[in-house]
Symmetry: C2
Subunit: 141 residues, 2 copies
Amino acid sequence: MDTPRRSAAAFEIDARLEADSEHLAWLSLCELRLMNDSRWPWLILIPQRAGILEIHDLTPLDQTMLTFETNLVAESLKRITSCDKINTGALGNIVRQLHVHVIARTEGDSAWPGPVWGHGPREPYRREDLHQLAARVQAAL
Amino acid sequence: MDTPRRSAAAFEIDARLEADSEHLAWLSLCELRLMNDSRWPWLILIPQRAGILEIHDLTPLDQTMLTFETNLVAESLKRITSCDKINTGALGNIVRQLHVHVIARTEGDSAWPGPVWGHGPREPYRREDLHQLAARVQAAL
């Protein structure tokens, strides 16, 4: 289990988050990424702050920004997917760098009604499908 | 899957949330409850608003209050448990009424590093242990 350096080091995205997802946008606080797993429309917000493990470690202003950006993203994802429920979560048991998941869930999807985390292996998109969903999210924001 | 009434009806807590957890405190926005599952120290915040399913359905002020209260609770729980990681999540795939989980996770706990939701049956506390943890959380807030 790695722990990000608690220092004034420049912000960098954890290598595993980067490998499993695609860049979508830079918001004010967060980098927004699309998880490359075709089983669920799944976005990840990563606050661009070095050495942060927990939401409550952010400054109060950053906490408010994270709330605003998470809810903007959640509302957009619900609108474009017409899903039944948004799941949001910040776990960090494996990748400790703070990141917030926003996932579109539909009754009867492959993990329903359980959580998606740890549910079998990732199933990457075909490139064209990944880029099409990315474009829809970017347009909705 | 039940859907809370989207009306000006009085706020009531979902019967399943109530049955599985113990009242701890009324915060400004949320009722704070302790999940009666001895496998993990696990708190639940329920915004006292009728008919709300998603965090982004709350007013902006309520969203900010929820963030403040969630982070206050998370920081307190981390301090009193000395856990390795806080997991927070709002899923609602089974109980649709908006509720936010704040769970203290420790490396090697019974679901580690996976999520706790849907992980085997609940294991209720002995009453004295439940009341002792409740008192520690109340004192820490």
